[in-house]
Symmetry: C2
Subunit: 344 residues, 2 copies
């Protein structure tokens, strides 16, 4: 069997590799330090004069198309599509599926959905349920702002701890076998952790305990330490969240050293681009992985990467009703095996 459950929610996975990734970002993401690593940068947040929501949908459609194209496969070769976004009823992912017409598994774990998809995809491939799965996630700054906070036209002032929802998408074609050098070798599915934070303008701090829980469980299950990885990236904890996770880690004997960083923290020039806590949104970890991180693996610079996307599972309704913010994080570890033979 290609899957072994090694602890609660933790799995060793065999023979699952990445055939191709695609990352597309908005103009602000293009001007950030990772701009050169995106496959495409949209010239505008707007898309042919459509609504922000339609622009988000076009973004994930483009990302999926490009990933399939880069894999050298066709849509007919894709057995399943899975993914998600932040919009109510994950409409970007759902509407995009009208076009590709492949079986769809809609997922939701807010900004953690990219590794939820990668992890679940790996389990299904290793369990013989598919031979190729497309995983994608997306977010659009303006669409998210007006759903969760205020329309950007309002010009309201952001708090210093607020994150900047990225306009970005990342899509990955996962396939069974060992043909491609970058493989997923372990997965840990998160559980919901709620430390009682009620501040939707500081989600990094709210999510850090969930990231810690998943990382601890993943390391324990796989018998590894943080120092066994060349790089450890969380999804969108940002400046506050990475500080919080580092502190929490210290209390639990985990040293988050130079290997550790956060997709949201590296996506932008934090001060110059005025993004405060850093990038966030499902497209943040999806875009950063599918561009920059994956290229670090494929170039052989890193041999092992632990990626932990993080999600805050509240809604505007629960916030207005005075509830705290439950959070989750899903982890996948990736290994670069340098077998060559990639056709992509």
């Amino acid at each position: 069997m290609g899957v072994t459950q090694i602890a609660l929610g933790s799995y060793r996975v065999m023979d699952v590799c990445i055939a191709a990734t695609a990352a597309i970002g908005g103009p602000k993401e293009g001007k950030g330090p990772l701009g050169p690593y995106f496959d495409e940068i949209w010239p505008s947040e707007d898309h042919k004069g459509t609504s922000f929501e339609q622009a988000e949908r076009a973004l994930i459609e483009d990302g999926m198309e490009l990933a399939v194209k880069k894999s050298g496969m066709s849509w007919e070769d894709i057995d399943l599509v899975m993914g998600g976004d932040l919009l109510d009823q994950i409409v970007s992912t759902n509407f995009a599926a009208r076009r590709h017409q492949r079986p769809l598994l809609g997922l939701f774990s807010a900004c953690a959905v990219f590794t939820q998809g990668l992890g679940l995809g790996a389990l299904l491939l290793a369990g013989n349920s598919a031979r190729s799965i497309l995983v994608a996630a997306v977010s659009h700054h303006m669409a998210a702002e007006r759903q969760f906070r205020f329309p950007i036209e309002l010009g309201y002032q952001r708090t210093p701890t607020a994150a900047w929802t990225a306009t970005a998408t990342g899509a990955v074609v996962l396939v069974s076998g060992t043909k491609h050098p970058t493989a997923i070798d372990a997965v840990t599915m998160g559980r919901v952790i709620d430390f009682g934070s009620k501040n939707p303008n500081d989600m990094g701090s709210a999510m850090a305990p969930a990231a810690l829980d998943t990382i601890q469980r993943h390391l324990e299950a796989t018998g590894t330490t943080l120092q066994d990885y060349d790089a450890v990236y969380t999804g969108d904890l940002g400046v506050m969240g990475t500080k919080m996770l580092t502190l929490l880690g210290k209390e639990h004997g985990l040293i988050f050293d130079y290997r550790f960083n956060d997709c949201g923290q590296i996506l932008y020039h934090l001060k110059e681009q005025d993004v405060h806590n850093g990038g966030s949104g499902p497209g943040c970890s999806a875009g950063v992985f599918s561009g920059y991180l994956h290229q670090r693996l494929e170039s052989g610079e890193w041999r092992r990467l632990l990626l932990i996307a993080t999600g805050a599972l509240f809604s505007p309704t629960t916030y207005q009703q005075g509830e705290s913010i439950p959070c989750i994080a899903h982890a996948v570890s990736l290994v670069y095996r340098d077998r060559g033979g990639s056709s992509s």
Copy 2:
């Protein structure tokens, strides 16, 4: 291997059975024809004076607790929890996970999420990713109305084709092996079908083409006809949708005869209870299956059941932006094997 992909998105599954189900309904559901088949009926839609959203969460929490209890297992035995609901950011499912603390896979396919969960759970169990998975779905009438239409306090008049979102939950403990008599033996994951309907007050008609697509694919993949099943149940097509599906089926050579019915159509006394098109919501198919349908199997009355939950994947935002309603349907076929030996 316990899973074989027999066609696009269609799978034969071995050694996955149902350890227990639990169904809880609201007072209106209790007064319907299926009232006696629910494990519990809440005396009120209200729950200890909390909000409707908190009531929905309590409902799924209660359902999950009861399913685990009825299975004779404990929470520690549950490897994964998966499921969903209709509320934005599936907050009922996500907040409920604070309590059970098991790894969570949040799913979204609107009212199709129950069979998405059963199907995905079956694939993961048969693929060796878990030994026990709890699948649950929930909806609450008042919480759904005020999110998708209007607050019920407004007392607006419903259109004749409008569905009645059920206050109900259904939870199923799936386990690997053959210990229990009711098994999932095949799964077909849906693709998104959009016939261009824009009427959110007639979702049965909008969803019928998606149901047809999944049923056709399932029958073709498994080499069965509708007449090979003792019962064929869609999720929440209601009066209009079942008529539409019957007509569409005829055009495609499928005879939807007395074996065919719809969970939404049988949940209420349609006229006496003034529910117009019938029941809907993720809790509709989940509650009807976990109570009535599962008991028909366990009593040996039916040997084979095809269950196809149906979902309309729009949001209030996409509706207001003038978009049509993409739909999806996921199918699972169940077989009663009368092996005995059930400990539940």
